[in-house]
C-alpha cells in the first residue's frame, strides 16, 4: 500500500472526497475502520476469509457508491458497521440453508491470528471495556434479545419462538435495549476512541 497521510479530516469530508475518486481518502478511511469492521465480521461469521471478503465488499461498495452514505444517516462508523453486519448476517443465513442441504457436510471455518501494534491493541482493549460496561448495564432479558438478533441474525419471530416469549415482548425488549444503549453511549465519545 502506498504511504498515506491522515490529515485529520472528518469521515464525512473523506466520504465526500470519495465522490471525486480520491484514493487517499479511501486509504484513510480504511486505516481508521478496517479493524473494527474486520473484528465484527470475524465474530459473526467465524471465518477469516469470509470476514476479509466482507471488509473488501464494504470498502469497495463505499468506493464505488459513496453517494449511498448521507450525513443524515448519522456517523460513518455505525453506517459502515451496519453494512458489514448486514452482509455477515446474509452469509450466516445462506450457510444455514446450505447446511440444511448438506446434512453430513462440514463447512470450512478459518481464523487469522490477532495482530497489530501494541498501542492500538491497548486502545482497542480499553474501548471494548467501555462498550462491555455499556452492554452490562442492560437488563439480562433485553441484552439476550438484542444479542440473539444482532450476533446470531435471528428474526424477532425466531427469538420469540426460541425463548418461548410473545413476539410483542421481544419487540419491546429490543426496542428498550437499543434506546438504553443510545443513552449510555453518550459519555463514551466513541468516535475519538476509534
Amino acid at each position: 500500500m502506498q504511504v498515506y497521510r491522515d490529515s485529520g479530516a472528518s469521515d464525512e469530508i473523506l466520504v465526500g472526497r470519495l465522490c471525486a475518486k480520491d484514493v487517499n481518502a479511501l486509504e484513510i478511511l480504511y486505516a481508521r475502520y478496517s479493524r473494527p469492521i474486520y473484528a465484527l465480521a470475524v465474530r459473526l461469521v467465524g471465518d477469516a476469509h469470509v470476514a476479509e471478503d466482507i471488509v473488501q465488499e464494504c470498502f469497495l461498495k463505499l468506493w464505488r457508491q459513496p453517494e449511498l452514505y448521507a450525513p443524515e444517516k448519522g456517523r460513518v462508523t455505525p453506517w459502515l458497521l451496519g453494512m458489514a453486519h448486514h452482509r455477515a448476517i446474509d452469509w450466516l443465513r445462506r450457510r444455514t440453508i446450505e447446511r440444511r442441504h448438506e446434512a453430513e457436510g462440514v463447512d470450512p471455518v478459518e481464523h487469522s491470528a490477532v495482530g497489530g501494534d501494541p498501542e492500538s491493541i491497548l486502545a482497542g482493549a480499553l474501548r471494548r471495556d467501555e462498550v462491555s460496561q455499556a452492554l452490562a448495564k442492560l437488563p439480562d432479558a433485553q441484552r439476550v434479545a438484542l444479542e440473539l438478533a444482532y450476533l446470531r441474525g435471528m428474526t424477532q419471530t425466531q427469538i420469540a419462538d426460541f425463548l418461548g416469549e410473545p413476539l410483542g415482548t421481544i419487540k419491546t425488549r429490543t426496542r428498550l435495549a437499543m434506546r438504553k444503549l443510545r443513552t449510555v453511549l453518550e459519555p463514551f465519545a466513541l468516535e475519538e476512541s476509534l
Partner: protein
Amino acid sequence: MTQCHFAEFLEEFALGSFDADERERVLEHIRLCPSCAEEAGNYLEALSVIALDAPDQTPPLSLGRFIMAEARHSIESPRRLPRQSVWRHWPVFAAAAVAAIALAWTIRLSGELENQHLALASLTRRYDIIVGVLAASEVAIQQMSATEAAPGAMGRIYLDRATGAGMLMHRLPPLTEGKCYQLWFVGNGERVNGGVLRTNPDGSGYTIIQSPGPLSRYTGVGVTQEPAGGSPWPTTDRLLGAGI
C-alpha cells in the same frame, strides 16, 4: 421521532432481521426520507456498541493493498453500465411501463454484476497471495509428517520466509460435527494460534496462512483437532507436524 409509516420497520432493519430484498426496500425509502434516515442512523449508532465489543482482530496487510489496487484500477478502466433504450414513439403509458421494467432489470443486473465482480475480486486476491508465496525468493516447502493419531494424513506447507505468508495443503480424516483443524506455530516451547484450516467434508483442503509475528520466532508447525471455531491452545494430540 419520525412519524413516517416506515418508522416501525427501522428497528428490525438495523438489527438485520430483514432479507436482502426487504432491506433494499427500506434503503430506498431511507434515501428519500431524511427523518427515517436519521432514525435508522440512531439505531445503527446504538448497535455499534455490540459491534465494537468484538475481540480485536487485524485484517491481513494484503487485504488493504488489494482494495486500494482495485480502487486505482477502477479509475483507470471504469466499468460502463448498459445504455437504456428510449421508446419515443409508443403511447405514453406503455413507454412508462416498459421503461420501469427496463430500469428494474438494469438495477437487478447491475447488482448481480456487482456481486459477481466482488466474488471474482476475492478469488483473485487469494490467488495473488498464493502466487506471491510460490514466487517468493525465500519460499520454504516442507512435507508434514503424520503422527499415530492420524495415520495416512498428509500435509505440505509453503512459507515465504520474508513475510511469513504461506499456504498449507492437507488431507486429513473427515471432520466430525462441531470440530475443526487448527494450525499452531511452535517456538520457545509455546504453541501460537496459526488459524483454523479450511477443510472440505472429506478432510482435504488448502488454507492461506500468516505467521503470527516474524517467522524466525518459530521452529515448527503442527495441526490438531479442536472445537469448531478454534481454541486458544491445543487441546488434543498433534496430527501433523513439521520443522520450519
